[in-house]
Symmetry: none
Subunit: 213 residues, 2 copies
């Protein structure tokens, strides 16, 4: 609501400034704004900047080239700059509680959403070695994208009888197999007609912070 009094055009200008900073490492000049937006007069850019300054989303340094600073107000509304929402780290999931329940959250970490696709919603600390041969070890953080749907072969976070587990998904009609990636473990087979199975999400990435040694 703070800067929703920005017009559509002013928002375009603001976005361009932010992107320019991301791309080049410094803000644009009036002329560079003109070039991008097709203005024939540098004053078109100047008056836009003045307006954005008046509305508090940027600050203009007088007499300084490229003296444009984005304020906190601007950053909060920009997709690229402010969009690094922290991901909660889910540790041991208490039986019966939702994965993302307050009591299960150990910590929060920010990182680039572009690293994983689709976008992860939380990190789950993996317990045990049942997925060892897929390179997922005890203590690893699994980046999880929340969705109730899974295709065969995908690595899923599943819940059976209030137990949360990470396995490879394999469906065959009414029969779902949760396959470990370690010969020391047995597949879990569920008949959907008899037993409940909830897919909590898909594994979209792995983060390991403690290398042995």
């Amino acid at each position: 609501m703070t800067q929703d009094n920005l017009t559509k055009r002013q928002r375009e200008i603001l976005n361009f400034i932010s992107e320019h900073i991301d791309r080049e490492g410094f803000p644009p000049t009036r002329n560079e704004l003109c070039e991008y937006f097709g203005f024939r007069s540098p004053n078109a850019a100047e008056s836009h900047l003045k307006a954005l300054d008046r509305k508090g989303v940027i600050q203009l340094g007088r007499g300084r080239s490229r003296g444009i600073t984005l304020t906190a107000m601007a950053r909060a509304s920009l997709p690229a700059a402010g969009g690094r929402t922290p991901l909660p780290l889910v540790g041991r999931v208490a039986a019966g509680s939702p994965v993302l329940a307050e009591e299960n959250i150990e910590n929060e970490y920010r990182f680039d959403p572009a690293l994983f696709s689709p976008r992860p919603h939380y990190l789950l600390r993996v317990q045990g070695l049942s997925m060892r041969d897929a390179g997922i070890l005890d203590g690893d953080l699994l980046a999880v994208h929340r969705t109730p749907e899974a295709r065969n072969g995908q690595i899923v976070v599943a819940r059976i009888d209030d137990e949360v587990t990470v396995k490879r998904f394999q469906r065959d009609g009414q029969r779902v197999s949760l396959l470990p990636e370690n010969p020391d473990f047995e597949p879990i087979v569920v008949d959907l007609a008899q037993q409940e199975l909830a897919i909590e999400g898909l594994g979209v990435g792995v983060i390991r912070s403690h290398l042995t040694g």
Copy 2:
């Protein structure tokens, strides 16, 4: 070691540029450098910038005011500026080139420095399966902390004969073994008296963005 050929003065200049960007949001002008360092001639600043450009830690945009861009090489050696500095992703390392040379940088990702310890300086894309049993697979990103020193058992990024490789480090007097974690691969044994071995850094974490499935 790549940019350790920076002189003390040049490092001071580089630090000031980085701090200026953090503080003001854009790089300094020649005059601002002069003011800070007490130069009486703008050419003092100019020639320092030229030197930093030549050494690859900054890039100068010709004819652009404040046209100074920090390269990945610079960022890796600068103190972590509040986790805002992105980590460069190093892909295939061209033979003979420094790991952090511009040509080897594929991308840049920001994320929480608290995730790994010690602090990683860059991400290296792992090739091959020689560390499979340590849960490091082909295509994984290894978070690397730059240091020339390693202790036995640590996972290192090493360079032999212009080849960069990830292995487990084992030293025995003048003999260093680089141990794979996969029985299909043979250890690399180096006699330090006969062959050069450079430790580029320590593996401090793993990120995998593509799960099979």
